[in-house]
Symmetry: C2
Subunit: 444 residues, 2 copies
């Protein structure tokens, strides 16, 4: 907190931005539109001095005539007029990794919005940052405008975090919300989302849960003090959620959300991303559409939920700018919340060690004895049933004039190992027509 | 971010705590229970070296035998074994103010949970802190375990905040939630809350809205860069909310919450605390019981909501400890988010400049012409009606054998000046039996 005298202007913070997509252009706009405000808050001016992007001619709605243009983005890492490098290129490898590594090796602070890079190479980058004694900031990498990283790494620094996660992908939350509200199928709603710009042309990173898993791995790393081996995070997307599942979920008092969940156990760290049934009455069930929610639970603080926009120009630019102001103010926090001395990555618990309650939807032949067969399998595998639902109205006639009917089962708390065992046996029953659908239940 | 070598232990941060109530004892517990974690995160040990409290003999569940005891709390400000003073005495004047002022004058960082002190003397204390170039931290003063101050002062530092506020008092939220769930009256539920420890023996600071106003004034000061003159904040508590209002609110699709609301307008800062009808479908309507919620809306970030426990040992200790770790890490932010040079306090807009939609509940004589009289008054004062509700089932017989009936009116957007004018005229009508009840509508 240095007093700002009106006669001598403090040195401005000179910023180089690699990547001028929506977020990059948003950062330039924010730094200009709010220049007076930001100067007052940071104690000095924040100015963009150099930029780099693929296409120099594209109109980004911001005037870049007084800014140096680097043809090669990696040159920003050593540019003479740059104090801080902002990496907004994206991707875990290639140019993004080169820029961040290069800047840190040159002893320059880095701000990045790159979740894949931090999730996969976070341990190595933290070591570089500590060696150079410069901050590596990445608030924008998790949940856009929600201060997830600041909350976990600073606000909860005194507490032992037991659980962290939430709704970490707006595309999936938009699709699941629209499926629930319209009763329409995944493919339909995805096509709409693509038209509206809520989903990419290739939606797999979002709908297959990878994007949420990147963010979860970062949150787990911050919460438990060491990055998680990304490949060990269990990931399951939302492509297999059917309109019927949303129908049954509603009937049973649940909503379906793609959740990231990380917990600290005595025998290791659990980290998983998959669709979940969450009770209607929980706060996270109310978070709809493109909104994200980050939940953290601490031994002392209890349950904390942060809800806001997880993507888009304005929210993400706000996160990047907050990091820049922290740097301008001279504040820094170790990358994973503590020194990297002796830092090792944590391998997440294997799926066989998960446990919980499960929702199963089977398509079965509608004839006597089928229920007895299924319940016998569950009994033999040690899975006990809580609820069973069967709806005659969803009955369909099969080619051989027999009928199929959906059957929904909710289990008591059980191990995932037992559940998978039972599922294999159930799938082998002749009276079970399709691959059974399984969704985990969370929060009750 | 200083590398911690394993051979030389960095200097510990020595803490003096004034006030050993629930929160003070919680901080001591947290620093001890989580000592290894906190040392790793802060880069050095945080140790309590001196304390002061009224009663030395009381059992607080923590061993204080190795800690210096100051008979006079003000001595902590100059104690030779103290680097940071934690003020948990409370109250805007007296010993609390003396300790904080004294510590800052001695060039010592201060952490306080004192909302009244910061709301009323925040400008003067900020000037002292800036003069001494030491941090004055107060995360625990607003909404307990919710990182409200960190979010507004750091995470949103790049954005222009348009609106800030939320559910800032857990006692009021508990009472309003219980009134809704049980249909019982304010006095009944308050008595229960007192038995359960959710309300004080003298509940006025909570139920009259003063505590929420302290927190709102702090949030407004942080959001808009200068503290608000506390006496200019409009405050209205929840004592006049009746079981009937909760009944009608439910019927109309609303919940009733005590909200703090601060907005930046071209002509000044609006800051007010009062009960509100909020639509059922809004996220803030779902925040029930003792939970708090802080909402901030920025030009770039959009709407952000933080929900968690606003009081109690664990959450408040978490906030105090986060401030201590920030200080141990060497991080500091100016008290009101910017330099105090030329700092002046803002006077909040007077009530006559408010505007919005209003809920009115009248108790009227059930006879022809009454509605015509009331609607004529509203028309003459320029207030236009959106909805009207009258329930025969709530009809009561009066001593003269006529009947009274509750009448509920919802207005369109109007100025509070016009509304107050109309209310005065309505109260003068012979057919209107009791003082009209007016509740503002927020968020639709």
């Amino acid at each position: 907190m240095t007093a700002v005298s009106s006669s001598v202007e403090p040195t401005p913070l000179r910023i180089g931005i690699a990547g001028l997509g929506t977020v990059g252009a948003g950062v330039v706009k924010m730094l200009r539109d709010n220049a007076a405000l930001i100067t007052a808050r940071a104690g000095r001016r924040l100015i963009v001095t150099a930029v780099s992007a693929r296409d120099r001619t594209r109109d980004r709605g911001v005037d870049l005539s007084d800014v140096a243009w680097c043809e090669n983005a990696a040159d920003l890492a050593a540019h003479p007029d740059v104090d801080v490098v902002v990496e907004l290129v994206g991707g875990a490898e290639g140019i993004a990794r080169k820029i961040v590594t290069g800047a840190l090796e040159n002893g320059r602070p880095v701000v990045t919005a790159n979740k894949a890079l931090m999730a996969i190479h976070g341990a190595e980058l933290a070591t570089l940052a500590q060696k150079a004694d410069v901050p590596l900031m990445f608030e924008a990498a998790v949940a856009g405008g929600i201060p997830a990283i600041k909350t976990v790494r600073e606000a909860l620094a005194g507490d032992r975090i037991l659980k962290v996660g939430g709704i970490l992908n707006g595309t999936c939350n938009y699709i699941l919300t629209a499926m629930r509200e319209t009763g329409r199928d995944f493919a339909d709603i995805l096509a709409d989302a693509q038209k509206l710009g809520y989903a990419e042309a290739d939606p797999s990173t979002d709908v297959d849960g990878v994007d949420a898993a990147h963010k979860l791995a970062i949150l787990a790393g911050l919460s438990f003090g060491r990055p998680v081996v990304f490949a060990s995070v269990y990931i399951e997307g939302i492509r297999r959620i059917g309109a019927l599942d949303l129908h049954f979920a509603r009937e049973l008092g649940y909503r379906i959300k793609l959740l990231g969940i990380a917990r600290q156990h005595e025998n290791g760290i659990e980290a998983r991303v998959h669709p979940c049934l969450v009770p209607n009455t929980t706060p996270i069930a109310q978070v709809d559409g493109v909104f994200n929610a980050v939940v953290a639970e601490g031994a002392f603080v209890g349950r904390l939920m942060l809800e806001g926009r997880g993507a888009g120009e304005g929210p993400t630019a706000t996160a990047v700018t907050a990091d820049l102001i922290d740097i301008a103010r001279g504040n820094a926090i170790p990358v994973w919340g503590r020194s990297t001395d002796g830092l090792t990555q944590a391998v997440a618990l294997p799926r066989a060690q998960f446990s919980g309650r499960y929702y199963l939807r089977l398509n079965v032949v509608d004839r006597p004895g089928v229920l007895a067969d299924i319940t016998a399998v569950l009994r033999d595998d040690g899975v006990s049933l809580h609820t069973m639902l069967q709806h005659a109205h969803a009955r369909e006639t099969l080619p051989d004039d027999s009928h199929s009917v959906p059957l929904v089962l909710i289990t008591h708390h059980t191990s995932e190992a037992a559940m998978l065992h039972a599922l294999r046996h159930i799938a082998q029953l002749k009276s079970v027509l399709d691959e059974p659908a399984m969704i985990r239940i969370e929060g009750d």
